[in-house]
């Protein structure tokens, strides 16, 4: 008898453990019609689901909380802002049919088209007022984009500092279809800010009808006005799907029946999944690119696109670090910057088509509104201060040695070990190049998580850091704002009154209405940064994508939204 009981108990224990997990998991299994991950499923109207790889989990679908590119991409699939990106990244009308700008450049009047939310509500000017006030009031990661220096929206800074009420923000709904935005100073790139998710609308009635903290956590708690609606999603999920939104104002343009996203942790797995036709669009790493180029089956499917962000070295210039502030010496920083062979780094260690970069503002994302020329098209313009020239680097080093009265230097370079497959190799390459080309300089490496790296940089507890920055908007200021005295991203604690003045003139001062003069002043500012090697730019990252046969129309951008599928189709 006891034997039977014990056997039963043991069996029950095992069954119980399996069974306690088998309660239906409503969030993960709702939307029974969701596409499976095996190939592109045809839908009733003939369109297909595009199967796309994401590198990381979607962290949030709330426009005020999201901080990463993958989240932004999915948000933009579902929600349209006032403007949207065209294939070249220029701002074109979306929810705003057109807009007027006052003569002084301080007032934008957006005229909204007849667009609908997926629940049938019209998209109104109030949806923008509500979302912007919420964004400024909660002041999360991208709240700063409303403030002075970027969006210049009236009163945004005061509200974020808790000195004014959210309803004093410079945005008003004149009527349902007319939205007026007031600025403190003209912003030449204002329309292109409007396609960034932080400026998207939220349906107030829908949002306030939800339990706190649940907005954007499932298909039922997310409301689209864009090309796709959320079909199957739960926070933390490794796969999510969207289906075409039939009530979208531009639904005629959308050819896909939906998008099925799959988070893939490793590039090797991504490549096999692509070969097995499980995924139609994947990103591979540098070491796979060479193999893909030689593979007849893959080479014609490879497409290298700009990822936008630039990797660079930053140097702590305070007494606290680097042997009592040695790196405050500009010649020493210039020596390191000129001892690095960037071409060799991108060709031999990054290998995915990334561009060696010699300017403080990377190329590809900011073009002049008057000439259309890329701000950093000319990578030779600072050749005097930044290049690969061992003789010059050693000259700088000798000057630094005599200025500092020291013969040898030993610094530690920190870098993230969870920031991409190639980063550790790049760190090794920099170490060996610097040590080989600069006798007397030792560069120790210290890997850590990105979280730790940022923590150390923010607390000024490092000598040299291998770090990155991606453009938030299509203007050089997204980089140049960082080196202003006391800016939170000025990790070197560099301070230059002339530079601060230029940046101030370009954001709120003399140059805000004179486009070409502003552009020229930005060049001058950049030269100050390069002349003293405040940072050592390394390379501008590319993404190596594999795109399945027959898939066309995916738009790739280095800024704001990396991939847009509104015009995509499967042949």
């Amino acid at each position: 008898m006891k034997k039977t009981i014990s056997m039963l108990l043991a069996a029950l224990m095992l069954f119980g453990l399996t069974a306690c997990g088998s309660n239906d998991n409503p969030a993960a299994s709702n939307g029974g019609a969701a596409p499976s991950s095996e190939g592109s499923n045809p839908s009733s109207d003939g369109g297909k689901y595009l199967n796309v790889m994401l590198s990381t989990n979607v962290m949030s679908l709330d426009t005020n909380l999201a901080t990463d590119g993958d989240s932004f991409e999915v948000i933009a699939d579902c929600i349209d802002g006032l403007t949207q990106m065209d294939a070249d990244g220029a701002a074109i009308p979306a929810i705003a049919e057109d807009w007027d700008i006052s003569e002084d450049g301080l007032t934008y009047t957006f005229h909204l088209r007849d667009a609908k939310w997926a629940n049938g509500d019209p998209v109104t000017a109030n949806d923008f007022v509500f979302a912007w006030r919420l964004g400024v009031e909660t002041n999360e990661e991208y709240g700063y984009m409303f403030g002075d220096g970027v969006g210049n929206v009236k009163n945004a800074d005061a509200i974020m500092a808790g000195e004014a009420d959210a309803d004093t923000l410079g945005i008003t709904a004149q009527d349902d279809k007319t939205l007026v935005v007031e600025l403190t100073a003209p912003v030449s790139y204002f329309p292109s800010l409007m396609y960034f998710p932080a400026f998207y609308p939220i349906n107030e009635a829908f949002y306030t009808g939800l339990a706190a903290g649940t907005y954007g956590t499932s298909a039922d708690t997310y409301l689209s006005n864009g090309a796709f609606v959320l079909e199957n999603y739960t926070p933390g999920t490794a796969s999510l799907s969207l289906k075409k939104n039939d009530t979208y104002w531009d639904a005629g343009r959308v050819k896909l029946a939906g998008i099925s996203y799959q988070v893939v942790g490793s590039s090797d797995n991504a490549l096999t999944a692509f070969r097995s036709n499980t995924l139609d669009l994947v990103t591979i790493n540098g070491s796979q690119v060479a193999a893909a180029e030689e593979d007849a089956d893959l080479s014609n499917k490879l497409k290298v696109t700009g990822a936008g962000y630039m990797w660079y070295l930053t140097f702590s210039q305070t007494d606290k670090n680097a042997q009592g502030g040695m790196l405050a010496n500009a010649n020493l920083r210039l020596a390191i910057s000129n001892a690095i062979d960037r071409e060799s780094v991108v060709d031999n260690y990054v290998m995915d088509g990334s561009l060696a970069t010699y300017t403080a503002v990377p190329p590809q994302f900011a073009a002049s509104a008057t000439t259309g020329e890329d701000f950093s098209a000319d990578q030779k313009k600072f050749a005097d201060y930044c290049g690969y020239d061992v003789a010059k680097a050693q000259e700088y080093l000798e000057t630094a040695k005599s200025e500092l009265g020291v013969d040898s230097f030993e610094f530690t370079m920190i870098y993230g070990n969870n920031e991409g497959d190639e980063v550790a190799n790049v760190a090794q390459a920099i170490k060996s190049q610097v040590e080989e080309n600069l006798p007397g300089v030792t560069l120790n490496l210290q890997p850590m998580t990105k979280a730790e790296r940022l923590d150390k940089m923010q607390n000024d507890n490092y000598d040299v850091a291998l770090t990155r920055w991606g453009p938030d908007y299509a203007d050089p200021m997204t980089y140049m704002g960082m080196w202003v005295t006391n800016n939170a991203n000025n990790y070197g604690f560099w301070s230059n009154a002339e530079y601060d003045q230029i940046i101030s003139d370009c954001t709120v001062g003399a140059y805000v209405t004179d486009y070409d003069a502003r552009w020229a002043a930005l060049y001058e500012g950049e030269e100050l940064v390069m002349k003293e090697a405040v940072i050592a730019p390394l390379y501008t990252k590319s993404n190596a994508n594999l795109i399945a046969d027959g898939v066309t129309g995916i738009e790739f951008h280095p800024v704001a939204l990396n991939r847009v599928y509104k015009s995509a189709s499967i042949g």
Partner: protein, 313 residues
Amino acid sequence: MVKYTLKRVGMALFTLLLIVFLLFVLVRIMPGNPFPSERMSAEAIAAKRAEMGLDDPILVQFGRYMANLLHGDFGNGTSLYYGAPINTVLSNAISNSFRIGGLAILVGTAVGLLLGIVAALNRGKFLDGFCTVFSIIGVCVPSYVFLIFLQYFFSFKIPYFPYFFDANRFLFSSILPSLSLSLFTMSTVARFTRNEMVEVMDSDYVRLAESKGLYGGTLVRKHVLRNALVPIVTVLAPLIVDLLTGALVVEKIYGINGIGKLMVDAITGEGVDYNYVLALGILYSALYIGIMLVVDLLYGLLDPRIRVSAKEG
């Protein structure tokens, strides 16, 4: 038996409380920031820390945490899935890991026992050798290697099973990961069952039973297997916890949103999410302690001598 049970449960609860406190303190010493940001001002971050109560004395924080915990509330994510309640994310992850792990335990134990019995009954013959080789391979090859192998042949070469986990076809897409996870359990159980049974079969009381005329199924079930089971339950317990708490690499490769992956994300993501690390730490410990408790109680049932000694002690 009642006293024995109560004593064990009491000890288990005390151990758990101690672990929660240690975890609570350790998590706050970990490097990294619970509010990672490259754009927010220091004041804004300080306000967030204050809002979460991170500036209060640690005992106050711990008291508040325990009060919430007793209501089943693990708090909200800070750097992971911002704003979403941990309970939602966690319950999805637990559901996935438990179902896949549970399936692996069932298959692993059942097949493992069977293999062990077959090997023991055929000691020295071909089947015994086969089981031994199989067990050695199973213990040595990591489950994710086996998964990559299965994925390559049965999702890629012969595309029958899905290449990635699909929550909408749960059972079907659980087969490959469960099978790969079960291999280690299967081999361990087979090896132990075989060795224990061989030992028991050589013992005097089995010889006596045989000489009394008992043979075949009755002998194996009544005398051999029952005595061999105690050590097997002991090795099985930690294996169960391992399988339930998610297999990180397998989850990563197969795209399963499980608790192993969640733990790694909570530590190595953009920031360190205190609440997730704590919630998962508590879950691991509670599971381990809970299973050990069940095992202790099972011993009592399987072997009356353990009960007796507890009574005497």
